[in-house]
């Protein structure tokens, strides 16, 4: 079976700045993959390319065996839209639609994009809100919710489209510490019960170790080291990985600057 995501020799630049440079990554279907690395190493960029929010300059990206990006050539908008249906994304800053209730956030896309009948989409939306522990918040506006609640609505919203691949970009980084746990619990539950492919960019090392099948350490726009959690987290072989892990496990010490 083809893999869920396949990055081959990907180069991504913003002007002069090469954000990804010869980036290689293959993600089998159903894998729970954690991506770690210092800030600015290109982690979000990888997810944004997979979500078809950003193009690339060179190389190739395949999503579920279909070509998403092939060099600098931009596929027609129709193709991008179709491929985006395979993937879902949860953002660091939630990006909920502020003019819609929690339930409306969750069921608008199934109705508008997939043409699911409204009543059916709402019923499914309530189930999903219940799954993330927010059954009683269906009618709340986003501004009435705490950060942790917003992020759980955002997770339900992405799930409602039933994507094969879910991309989580530092979904707990913008939260107050006391709300991190409730969101991680939802993700833990999701990872355990679902056969979706999940890519999680995270700074929660312990959490990554618990739920990931594999951890990828990125630095300077490349994969520096990867392996099963127990190996990568406790016996990293690359000096840069060792330095990064030291710095996150002992806050206050800086990771070395990327080159």
């Amino acid at each position: 079976m083809t893999s869920a995501l396949e990055f081959t020799g990907v180069e991504k630049r913003y002007g002069e700045l090469a954000v990804l440079d010869g980036f290689e990554l293959s993600v089998p279907r159903g894998e729970k993959l954690a991506i770690i690395g210092p800030s600015g190493s290109g982690k979000s960029t990888v997810l944004r390319i997979a979500m078809a929010l950003e193009g690339i300059q060179r190389g190739r990206v395949e999503l579920l065996g279909e070509t998403l990006w092939d060099g600098a050539k931009r596929p027609p908008e129709k193709t991008l839209r179709r491929l985006r249906l395979h993937a879902g994304m949860v953002f660091q800053h939630f990006n909920l639609f502020p003019h819609m209730s929690a339930l409306e956030n969750v069921c608008c896309a199934p109705v508008d994009v997939l043409g699911v009948p409204r009543a059916q989409a709402q019923a499914r939306g309530r189930e999903l809100l219940e799954q993330v522990g927010l059954a009683d918040k269906a009618d709340s506006a986003p501004e009435q919710l705490s950060g942790g609640q917003k992020q759980r609505v955002a997770i339900a919203r992405a799930l409602a489209m039933e994507p094969a691949v879910m991309l989580f970009d530092e979904v707990t980084s913008a939260l107050d510490p006391e709300m991190v746990g409730e969101v991680l619990n939802v993700l833990r539950d999701l990872a355990a019960r679902s056969d979706m492919t999940m890519l999680l960019v995270t700074h929660e090392m312990q959490f990554a170790g618990e739920i990931a099948d594999r951890i990828v350490f990125m630095d300077g726009g490349r994969v520096v080291e990867q392996g099963p959690p127990e190996q990568l987290l406790s016996q990293p072989s690359e000096p840069r990985t060792q330095a990064f892990l030291r710095s996150v496990l002992q806050p206050g010490r800086q990771a070395p600057a990327q080159d």
């Binding site: 929010l53 908008e77 953002f91 990006n95 003019h99 209730s101 994009v113 506006a141 501004e143």
Partner: protein, 237 residues
């Protein structure tokens, strides 16, 4: 030695205030035309604003340039000269629109040119993350605009649009220069007839002011309505 009557500077004490009532019917006739022009030009202007604003933001090259040129031309030239041009010059090229149509066309296009910038600004002010969230859910550009961006931008558009509509109302006074009997035109006729300059123009100021208040009031209600939709999380579309 008294001067002849028509040379006497008028004072507003030379007739009782109750005489104001006599002036009203004529002025209200004028006000009606003023409001008609305002409403029709506003409708045209809002349509132009949305189309040109979206074209400037999203349309491919030639359309984008066309919209930019429209906005530049109408914002960069005097509305009075535009009126003259459409009313006096266009007929020489065989296009005769008549006074009313000329008035609403010019004032509407004028309002639309400023409104296009309002639309563009409000859409541009919606955070990029909203576009990305919608795209990640499978919305295309049109669907994103309609369901996600426009409902949020609408709230931000209301106050500047209110200002534009009041600006439009005041600009309608210019149509008295192309033979239309609007409020300002009637005022000038009345003044010539009755020489009661002070009362007439006080009344005219008051009528324009009340009409402007009406617009302010309406826009305030609209704004509260849109904001309430947000509080309760209701969809606006």
């Amino acid at each position: 030695m008294p001067r002849p009557a028509h040379c006497v500077p008028q004072r507003w004490t030379n007739k009782p205030v109750s005489g104001l009532i006599e002036l009203l019917p004529t002025l209200l006739e004028g006000l009606r035309l003023t409001l008609q022009i305002t409403v029709v030009a506003a409708a045209l202007g809002l349509a132009c604003a949305v189309v040109a604003g979206l074209a400037r933001e999203f349309a491919p090259r030639p359309l984008n340039w066309l919209a930019a040129t429209y906005v530049e031309v109408f914002r960069g030239t005097s509305a009075l000269v535009q009126l003259f041009w459409f009313f006096f010059a266009l007929p020489l090229m065989g296009i005769n629109l008549g006074a009313f149509l000329t008035a609403v066309l010019v004032l509407g296009l004028n309002t639309g040119a400023y409104g296009a910038e309002v639309v563009r600004g409000a859409i541009g002010a919606v955070p990029r993350g909203q576009w990305e969230a919608a795209a990640s859910l499978g919305y295309g550009r049109a669907g994103t605009l309609r369901r996600v961006i426009f409902p949020q931008a609408a709230l931000a558009m209301v106050p500047p649009t209110g200002n534009l509509l009041i600006e439009l109302l005041k600009n309608t006074a210019l149509v008295s220069m192309i033979t239309l009997s609007d409020l300002t035109f009637r005022a000038q006729m009345l003044r010539a007839e009755t020489l009661r300059t002070v009362e007439i123009f006080l009344l005219v100021l008051l009528l324009y002011y009340l009409a402007a208040r009406l617009i302010t009031h309406g826009m305030g209600r609209l704004e509260r309505h849109l904001a309430r939709g947000r509080d309760h999380g209701g969809s606006l579309s």
